[in-house]
Structures are given as structure tokens and as C-alpha cells.
Symmetry: C2
Subunit: 349 residues, 2 copies
């Protein structure tokens, strides 16, 4: 018997609902192998900010390091300044734990309707650099308030961060199709993205079995919809990964279907697993949220902890449940509740 | 009789083919009103670079200013360094003429197949800031070649540039649906995009009849595909406008259908009208290119010069021709040639 020590951060809005639907699924999947799930719930998020002036405690990274992995719901509420939750929690934690890579797989499940035609068999992964690029928070506003304000935003792309993401992406591509697609914008941005092109090409010399293609981000946005099956593993920057992963989610039926993992490959640091969607305050508390993105994030978590059988069990059960439209939530055009999906998945398992 | 003095820059690859298909259409549309088209052809582009070491002459902006408008095909060829054509021509000319705004309308034509379901009636315009943002070319690489290279890319967003684009977008939205959607990424980028949010909100006070919505770029990428009819006028930065316009083109059948106009509103400076697609070297010289994006760019040009009747004639003829799949080029799944489309459009007119 192994014990998985899981920290959960339900957060705000629909976060607690999708997390509550997911934890029993992960537990059942582990118990089927004779293992145990030990859950520590952390009250970090908007409500904590309103009560205590900070979305998470100062020693958040240390607390999290005492667990094996983190399952994160979502944060964001209308009465809390966004940056308190973004920089004070999500981006803050990613950066403090130095979670170098954000993995965003997108897979089309049979039976799930999509706005894009011909998505059968879509199965791709976006490897997003997760610590820097346009997200470093550097810059300032010159001449503020003078009528000649100049907003300056500085993006930083380091060889180290690019290499970490690149090696992960090449290795992943090697285990999958042998094709890696690097997404940059080197025709218009002259320094950061040309460095990406160079560093990734160099890293690729260690992976002769992987074929590297470089595509401009604008062309990739169109290709993602027009020829998604031509894509397998994508490697890109923090900003482009953010944009392309929301777009790719559409291929699977939308944001309710898109999981993610923030990890530091090769290190003994807990990863943060989270649905790509936000806190969706408009539907919060109504039991309408689609828990699939959170469940699939949980499956990634199990995989990374070596519980690959349990992970497969979760994924297969989700796939089974989704085959029947009566288990589709409103975002998929159905009228199942979060709890309906949770019990259908448990039942399928 | 009025004379339209048109400069054409056919450029490279399929550029000359789509321009050749477009000019007679514009001429016919003008002549139907008793006007004349006077064409000056400029040999700027990759071939000129190979011959003379520069893609355009040093006094390019002055030459162009002697005409009423520019019709631009595309540039890019494998044997010419990309930046010579991008900075040395397209971006260079946009910046030298100070063409503040890039307008990228996307309209779904009946009869044209798309990869996205339910695109009937899609009709939106992206107003892209065209002179700065992530495209200023500022930055550098620190520690280059040391193994610790740091690529630094500086984006500049000025109140002046934001205001110019914003006023154009608000006025356009006022003439259309009364709805304007600003696309930024202020939760992750702290200086440039928050300035956009502030300046656009302030500009909006002069347009009480226009409703302003602000959306994050990642969410917009998904919404563009999932709910395109919820969109009318979008206002955004240079980089985001680039990405979102390629994506939006998919709603109309792809890059072969997407026109654009680079203009300096309210000033007597010739605009540059160009299809959004590139030079497509793979299909160049085969007569396979779709000339519709270029023709629709020509229609925008006629509109801006006050020849609205002629512009409508071009658009209606294109719409007519496209209703029949036998006038669809390969990108639309058909087997018409560029010349077939050109004669079908002329015939429809
Ligand atoms: C909340 C936001 C800062 C975040 C991001 O852009 O990284 C989110 O959109 C995501 O994709 O995880
Ligand atoms: C060629 C390139 C620099 C250009 C851009 O990004 O502006 C093109 O993609 C466009 O959209 O006009």
C-alpha cells in the first residue's frame, strides 16, 4: 500500500465543485490498486484574501512541498482584485516552485460535440514554458498620467528556461509520434523568439529521432483549427502557450474538457494539476460545472506519481461516461449536473 | 471622371498572381461608374533584394505618397532572409507611412465551406494597432553565446497609438452594431495591457452609444471559434491582432479569404491594402492561388477612396462567384484556377 499525499486548493467559484467531484474518483482509482489517498485541503483563494489580506500564506511553497502533488480548482471572484489571485496565487506558486513546464494535453473524446468539424482522433499536447517570457512582470509606465503615457512591457527568455521546456518536449515527442512543432514569432519579434529557435534547434541535436518543425504563432492559430490532426507535440512560450491552449480546448468541446499539469521535470517538487478553465462565477454554486477538466488533471497527477494504472482507469471511465450525452453538462449542450458526471464516472470505473 | 492612381506591389510567390487577378476587377468596377484606374507597378520584394540588396528603395515612402493607394500582394521567398522583406518592406512601410490602424474584416460568404460549424452570418472586423506593441523591434540578447543567453524583448504601448486605434474602432462600432470588444491580457502582463484597458475606457466616454467589453486574449481565441457571431468589432494590439486575424480567417474558409487595410485615419496618406496570406512559395506559379483575399482588399481600397459603389460591385461579384463551388480554388476544396475565379468575378460583375 502506497499513500498519495494530496494537497487540494479548491479556490473560488466552480473550483470547489469540480474538485469535490474529482477527489472521490482519484481515491477510487487508487484504492482499486490497494493504495490510499490522503487529502489536505487548503483554503487559499479569494475568500482567504478577503479575510486575511493574502490569497495564500507566505510559506505556501514550503507547505506544498510536504505533499506529493497539488490539485488546484480555480481562483477569481468579482470582489477581489485579480492580481491578488493571479500573482498572489497561481503565477506566484508556479514561479516559487519553479514549475518549469506546463503540459496541456487536448484529446477529443468520442461522443462529445465540438464546434470544429473532423476532430475525431485529435490528440495533442502543448508544452508551455511556465516561468518567464511575457509573464515576468517586468516593465513600467513612463510619463504616467501626462497624456503621453508609455507602457513598457519587458519579456525575458532565458536559454535555461527554453532548454528545460525543450528537453521535456523532445523526450515527450520521442515517446509519441516523433514530431515536435515549435511555435514562435521570429519574423516580427527579433530577440526572444529567434533565441527560442536557436536553442531548441540545438537541443534537438540530442534527439535525432524527433523531427522538428517551426511555425509562426499566427499560422499555428489557424492550423490548430484547420488541421489539428497534423499536430502532436507543440512547444512554445508562456504567452503563446496560454493562447493556443484555450484554442486547442475547443477541439475537445471547450474549456470544460482541458486539463493541465505544472511540473518541474526530474525534480522532487510537487506538481500543480489544474483545469485550464477559470472560476466561472456566473455558474458557480449551481452544480452546473463540467468536472471533466479537473478529473483529467487528476489523471495526469496520478500518472506523474507512477500510478499509471489508476490514471488509465480515470481516463477510461471519463471516456465511457462521455459516450452517453446524458452525462454531458451544459457547456457540452447537455443537462447533466456536476454530481451526475461524478457518479457516472465512478460507476463506469 | 475621376482617376484612381494605384501603386501595385505584386511582390513574391503568389503575390503577382493574386494581384494580376485583382487589378482588372477593380478597373471594371471603376469604369462602370465612368472612372479610370491608373496603375504604377513597383518591383519591390525578394527579387529586387537579390538584384539590388534592398527590397525597396530608400525613398519608398515618398514614391508611394504620390499615389492614392497601394495594392500589395505578398512577399517572402526561401532564398531571401526573412527580415529583409519583413522589416525591409512590410513592417518598414507600415511604420514609415505611420499607418496607425490595420483593419481585418472577416465575413462568411454563403457557399464557402469552413472547418467551423455554424459560421453563417459571421461578419466581424479586427482593428489592429499597427505601429508598435510587441513589434517595435526593441530589445537584445544578453550573455549571447555564453550558455546563459538571455533574450529580452521590449514591447512599447503608447497612449497616442492606443488612442488612434481606439477612436477608429469606436467610430466603426458606432456605425455597425454599437458593440466593441477590447482584447488584452492584463491579468498576466502588468503595464502595457492595463494601459490599453485604461486608455480605451477613457476614449469610450466620447462614444456613449457604444458598449465596451474587455476580454482576455486566451478567452477570445476560444470564443472566436465557439461564438463568432457574438463578435462585431474587435480592438487589439499589433501582436494579438496578428494572431486573432489568422484565426478569424478560418471562419471565412481560410487565409485565401481574408483581406486587410493598413490606414492612417483622417490623413491624406495612401493606405496599403493586402491579403492577409503570405507568398505561399509551395503553390506559386501554378495558377492555384485564391485571389479572393486580394480582391476583397481591393474593395476596401475603393471604399476608402470614396468609390463605395465600385467597392460594393466587387464584393457582390465575389459573393456571386463563390456561391458556385466550381469557382472555388484548392484551398476551399475546389479545383478552380486563379484565372477561373478572376473571370467568374468579372463575369458576375
Ligand atoms: C489566470 C491566468 C494568468 C492564466 C495564464 O494566463 O497563465 C490562465 O489563463 C491559464 O492559462 O492558466
Ligand atoms: C509578415 C508578418 C510580419 C505579418 C505580421 O505579423 O504583421 C503578417 O503575419 C501579417 O499578419 O500581416
Amino acid at each position: 500500500t502506497k499513500v498519495v499525499r494530496l494537497a487540494v486548493i479548491p479556490g473560488d467559484g466552480i473550483g470547489p465543485e469540480v474538485v469535490a467531484a474529482t477527489v472521490p474518483t482519484l481515491r477510487a482509482a487508487l484504492e482499486a490498486d490497494g493504495h490510499r489517498l490522503d487529502v489536505t485541503s487548503l483554503d487559499w483563494g479569494g475568500e482567504r484574501f478577503l479575510r486575511q489580506g493574502a490569497a495564500m500564506p507566505a510559506d505556501a511553497a514550503d507547505l506544498v512541498k510536504q505533499t506529493d502533488a497539488v490539485l488546484f480548482g480555480a481562483v477569481g471572484r468579482p470582489d477581489v482584485p485579480e492580481h491578488e489571485l493571479i500573482w498572489g496565487l497561481i503565477i506566484g506558486l508556479r514561479q516559487q516552485l519553479d514549475l518549469a513546464v506546463n503540459l496541456r494535453p487536448v484529446r477529443a473524446f468520442p461522443g462529445v460535440p465540438t464546434k470544429v468539424r473532423d476532430t475525431d482522433g485529435v490528440d495533442l499536447v502543448i508544452v508551455r514554458e511556465n516561468t518567464e517570457g511575457e509573464y515576468v512582470g517586468a516593465g513600467g509606465v513612463a510619463h504616467a498620467g501626462s497624456g503621453h503615457d508609455l507602457g513598457i512591457e519587458v519579456a525575458v527568455h532565458s536559454r535555461r528556461a527554453i532548454e528545460r521546456a525543450a528537453h521535456h518536449a523532445f523526450a515527450l515527442a520521442g515517446r509519441r509520434s516523433g514530431r515536435l512543432c515549435l511555435v514562435t514569432k521570429s519574423n516580427a519579434m527579433r530577440y526572444g523568439y529567434p533565441l527560442w529557435d536557436r536553442v531548441v534547434r540545438e537541443a534537438g541535436e540530442q534527439y535525432p529521432q524527433v523531427e522538428l518543425e517551426t511555425v509562426l504563432v499566427d499560422a499555428m492559430a489557424a492550423r490548430m483549427i484547420q488541421a489539428p490532426r497534423s499536430l502532436d507535440v507543440l512547444l512554445t512560450s508562456n504567452l503563446f502557450g496560454d493562447i493556443l491552449s484555450d484554442l486547442a480546448a475547443v477541439l475537445a468541446g471547450g474549456m470544460g474538457m482541458a486539463p493541465s499539469a505544472n511540473v518541474l521535470p526530474g525534480a522532487d517538487v510537487p506538481g500543480i494539476y489544474e483545469p485550464v478553465h477559470g472560476s466561472a462565477p456566473d455558474i458557480a454554486g449551481k452544480g452546473l460545472a463540467n468536472p471533466v477538466a479537473c478529473m483529467l488533471s487528476g489523471a495526469m497527477l496520478l500518472d506523474d506519481l507512477g500510478h499509471t494504472g489508476a490514471a488509465r482507469r480515470v481516463r477510461d471511465a471519463v471516456a465511457d461516461a462521455l459516450r452517453d450525452t446524458k452525462h454531458h453538462t451544459a457547456d457540452l449542450g447537455g443537462n447533466a449536473t456536476t454530481a451526475d458526471v461524478a457518479s457516472a464516472v465512478l460507476h463506469a470505473m
